[in-house]
């Protein structure tokens, strides 16, 4: 195995940081220095500050994508019964065509599932010159005539904003014209913001504005929650729903894994919002509380322990003894298999090291699983996180800069008819005092060891340096990073959209993950990289014949 051969290396984090910055032009180095943090024990206050959610330096080979990717790809992509229509040249729609492994089971009442369709207005130069509104309207009509969907979502790509197509008016007009189809649009041009993150925000706003609260059907279940920021990659959501169902908790709306129109539309009827991916969805959580009075808590179903903890939090919130007992029973029933799997791989995984550079929350969540396997996270960071994802929400509000300024903040207030506080202030306080924190997220940093290196918006160059210096046993990032890392003889696991496998959430997911990581860090292939004549090139004087 590669690990067997591996020489142990001792690097001082300070030297590592210096090494990472050494080659940069001065200006770049100064900027990056603020985004590379050597984690300190939290007692010495003030905890060190990291710069995040800022522009990537042009020319840097970044891991980041664009606003369109965050809006269409991440948030709206996983919905099954809404027709997603991309207004722009063909590329943006093509690249987002089934390329994320968010699974859908066509659970809409008519079994609609448009996930396999890639729809675009395929803008041509004439549209750029004369405007594309007519073509957009025609495309919406054609989509309606072919599919008769409940809703059509329109997404703007870069040129649309520049040429001034008013997609919202087109959407509004078509909605009225069609009558039985909700048409709405997203101004998620790729150049907005500094990463996918802006796209999440834009998606949050429009979904909240055009979908939430639009359902007539009344949800009557006893323990109703929304699951926010879960995208059913590799079937994570299926596993979570399995567990919730087993506990008697009704997840009436997932934002947005395997979601349906009706789920979004009913979200306002939940009694609790549970936030998985804090970065991509906390806006909706806040708005749901402000407008409808639904409190939210941060939960995490990545990791068996974390899953148990999250279930207990939900039960505690509802405070129903039967539910609390049910949850304990489920945990007691599920954990043994998890432990068997964990103990099987543990001897082969413990002591191994990992680096994680993904998402706005995943780089944090997955450390739970690695801890369970006895693997240490040497370095981590987000691709599109904000300061609060690192340092915790106490740093909010963050100061607005020239990029974030352009991302619309919609103003929401309590709904005159529908606002209904789920708990009295007293109840809330009691729960808080019992350790159930609302609207709280402590961020990544506190959970990482002293001296580990936290890096925001890591890039190709720094990733290579890090791996060469620290020689981790595993590196977690995205598809673009996969093979440059593996060329170095270090296995890479994709943790945005898993390269393969899953689910990794919940109890069964934990088992899958243990086995997948065991496979990766113990694969024979890393021991095959050298040919015999490379290992000892000198020619033995005479060949040893029989």
């Amino acid at each position: 195995m590669a690990t067997a051969k591996k020489k142990v290396v001792h690097w001082d984090p300070v030297d590592i940081k210096a090494e990472l910055l050494k080659k940069y032009p001065a200006k770049v180095a100064r900027k990056r220095a603020k985004q590379i943090l050597i984690n300190e024990a939290q007692e010495n206050s003030p905890p060190s500050e990291i710069v995040a959610n800022v522009r990537t330096i042009p020319g840097i080979i970044t891991m980041r994508g664009c606003t369109y990717a965050g809006c269409k790809g991440v948030i709206m992509g996983p919905t099954s019964d809404i027709v997603n229509l991309v207004h722009g040249p063909i590329g943006c729609s093509f690249y987002a065509w089934l390329t994320r492994r968010n699974q859908t089971s066509a659970s809409g009442e008519k079994g609609e599932n448009f996930i396999t369709y890639c729809m675009s207005t395929d803008m041509q130069d004439s549209d750029i010159i004369f405007g594309g509104e007519k073509k957009l309207a025609a495309a919406i009509q054609e989509a309606y005539d072919l599919f008769h969907p409940k809703a059509i979502a329109v997404f703007a790509t870069c040129p649309v904003g520049l040429i001034g197509d008013d997609i919202h008016t087109v959407a509004k007009t078509m909605k009225e014209k069609l009558g039985d189809c909700n048409v709405f649009a997203f101004s998620c041009e790729g150049y907005k913001g500094v990463s996918q993150s802006a796209g999440h925000h834009i998606a949050n706003n429009q979904v909240f504005t055009h979908l939430v609260g639009k359902s007539e059907t009344v949800k009557t279940d006893k323990f109703k929650i929304n699951l926010l920021g879960e995208y059913n990659i590799g079937g994570d959501g299926f596993e979570i729903d399995r567990i919730l169902k087993k506990c008697g908790i009704s997840n009436i709306a997932t934002f947005s894994g395997n979601s349906t129109y009706d789920q979004f539309a009913s979200a306002n009827q939940a009694d609790l919002s549970c936030v998985m991916c804090h970065r991509s969805i906390n806006y909706v959580a806040d708005m749901l509380e402000t407008k409808y009075g639904i409190p939210w808590i941060k939960i995490n179903f990545i990791g068996a322990g974390a899953t148990a903890k999250s279930l207990r939090k939900i039960a505690r919130y509802f405070g129903d003894q039967e539910l609390i007992d049910r949850v304990e029973a489920v945990i007691a029933e599920e954990m043994p298999d998890v432990e068997v799997a964990r103990l099987d791989v543990y001897p082969r995984t413990q002591g191994k090291t990992v680096m994680i550079f993904v998402g706005g929350s995943r780089a944090h969540h997955y450390q739970e699983l690695f801890n369970e396997m006895g693997m240490k996270t040497l370095s981590a960071g987000y691709e599109f996180g904000h300061r609060d994802d690192y340092e915790g929400r106490h740093v909010l509000p963050l100061k607005v800069d020239s990029d974030s300024r352009n991302i619309e903040e919609i103003h929401v207030e309590a709904d005159p008819n529908l606002y209904r506080p789920r708990k009295t202030p007293e109840e809330m306080q009691a729960l808080e005092e019992n350790g159930l924190k609302f609207k709280e997220y402590e961020g990544l940093n506190p959970d990482m060891e002293n001296g580990t290196i936290i890096i925001d918006d890591l890039n190709q160059y720094e990733a290579e340096k890090l791996v060469q210096m620290l020689k981790p046993d595993l590196f977690c990032a995205g598809i673009k990073e996969k093979y440059s890392i593996q060329k170095l003889g270090v296995p890479q696991k994709q943790l945005h959209s898993y390269d393969s496998g899953g689910p990794y959430a919940g109890f069964k997911g934990a088992v899958n993950f243990y086995q997948e990581i065991d496979r990766l860090v113990n694969s024979k292939v890393w021991g095959l990289m050298q040919a015999p004549w490379q290992e000892n090139p000198e020619l033995s004087a005479t060949y040893v014949w029989e």
Binding site: A69, S93, G111, M529
Partner: protein
Amino acid sequence: MLLRHTPKEISERSALMINPAKTCQPIGAMYAALGIHGCLPHSHGSQGCCAYHRSTLTRHYKEPISAATSSFTEGSSVFGGQANLLQAINTIFTVYNPEIIAIHTTCLSETIGDDLPQIIKKSKEEGNTPEGKLVIGAPTPSYVGSHVTGFSNMVKAMANMAEPAARKNGKVNIIPGWVEPCDMEEIKRLAAMIGVDITLFPDTSGVLNGPLSGEYTMFPKGGTTVAELKGCGAAIGTLALGEWCSADAARLLDTKHKVPCRVLDMPFGLKATDRFIDALRTVGGTSVPEEISHERGQLVDMISDMHQYFYHKKVALVGDPDQLIAMTEFLVSIDMCPIHIITGTPGKKFEKRIKEITKDVPFPVNVKAKGDMFLLHQWIKNEPVDLLMGNTYCKYIARDEDLPLVRWGFPILDRQGHQYFPTVGYKGGLRILEKILSELLDRTDRDAPEEKFELVF
């Protein structure tokens, strides 16, 4: 059904494209640029473009794809992308130190109207571009043509690197078009066997089918060198393989440097390879070695041995124009019947050429440029086929319609081999036939009633 909403009845669509058979220009430009040795492709636009192109190429090749971006923000979109590009060039040369940066534009920078040549010039003047380093650019507006157009535009930009030549160097330029790294390798092998000294560009062999050895280098050994590209003007001629992919570059060399050219079909299948080999030996004034005739004979041999399984089988094809033209001709030459042929790339010439090639096919033939896979699927629902050939996205149609699928074209995201085993040339023809046969015969084995289950085919 995976594509459960696709109706059999075909309705006219004027504005809505569904399940495209093309993508946008920049990715083609990026792929072409990777065929220059020591080149870092650069996407002048939003971060997303670059991210998407890199991801798609990475999934196709299972190899690292390095490319930089101008990371446009709202500001740059308003005030223009010059500042970003200048900084990008500086950052790239400082941090990654490539030989050359090949910039392509995007719908964003094209809509804004950034002047690439002027910015590249400025960068040089400002010392942003170090001595001996090069920056080239190609306009690739995403709202014109397709990924094929973008490829062609970048190849043209490479041809544009050619320098005036006092005297000919006796070499022949070959522009292979959008084929796989192993195909480019195969073309070089054939040329070497014929004894013709060539410059092949672009050449992604060695770049996108690299080894795993514990080392990573952003700029592997492969690729056409800058020096070779500069020397293209001294060639005695250019063979451009594929009207859509390669003709523009060839014609540029003709006008700019009086390097005569000939546009041939891509050498897929027997006849197209015949024409390529024959052209090469004629241009080079050499003769075709026995080994090549032998390889050719092996291909003819397999056609005759397995003819009963090909004969009159109906095929649906989707892909890019140059590839489709050659493949359709190949299928017709082995008595198969291509009856549905679609490309997403525009071009009436395409439809004309296909109609000509299929004129003797004993069934009605549907062909469309600027079509999409949604239409192809509807055609198939109306007139079923025995075999489907196209990229990985075809697997959804194949499963719904229970059709054998030969993965062919770009992108192939779910199988291996395309980066290692050529489909051009005679050996490539053997591979294509092997794949077609294994799909058809697997199906025969699957569906045969027990008394008709065959040991020998």
